[in-house]
């Protein structure tokens, strides 16, 4: 599977060419990170460009958090080079242009939302105005509540607000929408897209694949500390391969299986289900041979299928 992934990776699409013409905001080059004898990262390289929204996907333990921690300068790589805005992320001055939303069990419970923002804004040379932060993170009306009295979703939005305090050009969001309801999640997506339109770069991790699909311009799939695939959501989905054709047809399963690119054909309750990578040519052939064909439906591969295919083993 990784081989085909590489094949797709080297394909350039119009959107990609445009992005890669831009200089990079952050790069990791051949990063390894060992914890004792375990390799958390094993030759990982990635590049982030201005205005991009990049999703970092991977199963638990793939190295997502380690990657973000290295970009934030919280830990040093065992080998390889990390650059953020042309500087070493371990230097404190680099962080004045970076914002981070990390997975935090809790923050100071007794401080009010406004006090948290006041404190975090003081760390940065050009902080965003409080009113602006409250608006983007949708915290208006609850700014005087102590953190302990907020709901799970509100707490999550406070953490998002803290990431915005310094008006950063590069924003890391580690599982930003955990615990948010669908509406808040969509509003957050909207705000993230808006930030990207202002030229800010966003790297996020998520367990919701539909989130990566909806939000990211580019998806980087990592497993076992290496990048195993990289591309637009559409490109990544194609790696997962086949589309599913469903219809009622008089054509026999044996015949259908002989059509090019078909990998399987099954009949269930009068509905025939065919799995094929080139659904169009299969459907064209079927329509020619069966005028009674009805209830035609073609299902695109889900990102989830691609993800599972990529990361299994």
């Amino acid at each position: 599977m990784p081989l085909s992934a590489i094949a797709y990776e080297t394909e350039t699409l119009p959107a990609e060419t445009h992005a890669s013409a831009l200089p990079s905001v952050a790069t990791l080059t051949n990063i390894t990170k060992n914890y004792g004898t375990t390799k958390a990262l094993d030759g990982l390289s990635l590049t982030l460009r201005p205005g991009e929204i990049v999703a970092l996907l991977g199963p638990n333990g793939a190295g997502k958090s380690t990657t973000i921690k290295i970009l934030l300068g919280l830990i040093a790589p065992t080998s390889g080079a990390a650059r953020v805005f042309g500087s070493n992320p371990r230097e404190a001055t680099t962080r004045t242009r970076v914002g981070a939303m990390l997975q935090v069990a809790r923050i100071l419970e007794t401080l009010r939302v406004r006090e948290h923002l006041d404190l975090f804004r003081s760390y940065y040379p050009n902080p965003l105005p409080v009113a602006e932060i409250l608006r983007i993170a949708q915290l208006q009306g609850i700014e005087d509540r102590p953190f302990s009295q907020l709901s799970g979703g509100q707490k999550q939005r406070v953490l998002f607000a803290l990431a915005l305090c310094g008006n950063p050009d590069l924003i890391f969001l580690d599982e930003p929408t955990v615990g948010l309801d669908i509406e808040s999640r969509r509003t957050l997506w909207h705000q993230i897209r808006h930030l990207a339109k202002q030229g800010k770069t966003i790297l996020f991790t998520t367990h919701y694949l539909e989130e990566a699909d909806a939000l990211a311009n580019r998806i980087i799939v990592i497993n076992k500390g290496r990048v195993i695939a990289e591309g637009t959501p559409a490109e990544i989905k194609r790696i997962g391969g086949a589309r599913t054709i469903r219809c009622c047809t008089r054509l026999s399963l044996d015949f259908l299986e002989t059509l090019p690119t078909v990998t399987s054909a099954t009949l269930d309750n009068h509905t025939t289900q065919i799995i094929a990578s080139h659904a169009e040519s299969v459907v064209r052939e079927m329509l020619l041979r069966d005028e009674t064909l009805s209830n035609l439906e073609i299902v695109n591969p889900a990102l989830e299928d691609a993800f599972l295919a990529l990361t299994k083993n």
Binding site: L22, T93, T96, V104, P125
Partner: protein, 267 residues
């Protein structure tokens, strides 16, 4: 043009005013946090006062060899209070913030690390000053204790010294103790140490063998320096107590630094 700006602008270094503002805000919010955390503020202020009211005030007419026992015990409970505020505030507080990931989020920001440590020390010292002031007020109003302004000022000064000294122990506990056990571990260290060095019951009333082991405890040396303000110190020289207290602080800081380095390497 926008992209070059995005990629190369390096922010000017912080001005002194900005740095001071960070230190001030960090300290303000650390203090507010401790004050609003009732489990902390009520017990660290309440216990020394309650104990002093029960055991100290009952001795308001008691004298022993020219020593006013209520005044003697004021020094002991002052130390007991300030050490408690420091060990619980820093030891348990920092350990919890480490475990919750809060400190990591702050480290991912450009917050200067000294501001965080300063805020913790200064807030612990502020609690110490509050405790010592209340104890002194109670002692003079109800314990028949007379205290010169100079003596009181020296007590406050020694409170700050004690807070800084025991902050180093708090730091070490925070790095070693798991967050859910930190409060218990602080109690296990703090309560026996307070008792054995005579912070509750004047050391002179304790068995002789106990008086012999007290000098190995840092709490003993702090309390003797506090007692020295009233001229109630033991036979050991003042310099010896200072040396012991400073030695203890550096030992704790050194160990904390070693452990921190090891954690950083494994991180």
């Amino acid at each position: 043009m926008a992209t070059t700006a995005i990629l190369t602008t390096i922010p000017a270094p912080r001005t002194l005013n900005q740095t001071l503002s960070i230190f001030r805000k960090e300290t303000k919010y650390e203090f507010l946090k401790l004050m609003r955390t009732r489990a902390f503020s009520l017990s660290t202020i309440g216990f020394p006062i309650m104990f002093y009211v029960i055991f100290g005030l009952s001795n308001h007419n008691a004298y022993s060899g020219g020593i006013h026992i209520a005044k003697y015990m004021l020094a002991g409970y002052a130390c007991f209070g300030l050490i408690g505020a420091t060990l619980f505030g820093i030891g348990a507080g920092l350990s919890g913030e480490l475990a919750a990931g809060w400190l990591e989020l702050k480290r991912a920001s450009p917050m200067p690390a000294p501001a965080y440590l300063f805020a913790k020390c200064a807030s612990a010292a502020a609690f110490g000053l509050i405790i010592v002031s209340i104890l002194t007020l109670i002692a003079t109003l109800f314990g028949g204790v007379s205290l010169s302004p100079i003596e009181f000022a020296k007590m406050l000064g020694m409170t700050i010294v004690g807070s800084i000294s025991f902050a180093s122990m708090g730091l070490l506990i925070a790095l070693l103790a798991p967050a859910n056990a930190a409060t218990g571990i602080v109690n296990l260290i703090y309560l026996p140490m307070s008792f054995l060095s005579g912070l509750w019951v004047p050391i002179r009333f304790m068995p002789h063998w106990l008086q012999g082991i007290a000098p190995i405890l840092p709490t003993y040396h702090l309390s003797q320096l506090m007692l020295d303000i009233f001229g109630y110190g033991d036979s050991m020289s003042r310099t010896a107590h200072w040396n012991a207290l400073i030695g203890f602080s550096f030992l704790m800081l050194g160990l904390a630094w070693l452990i921190f380095q090891r954690k950083e390497q494994n991180a």
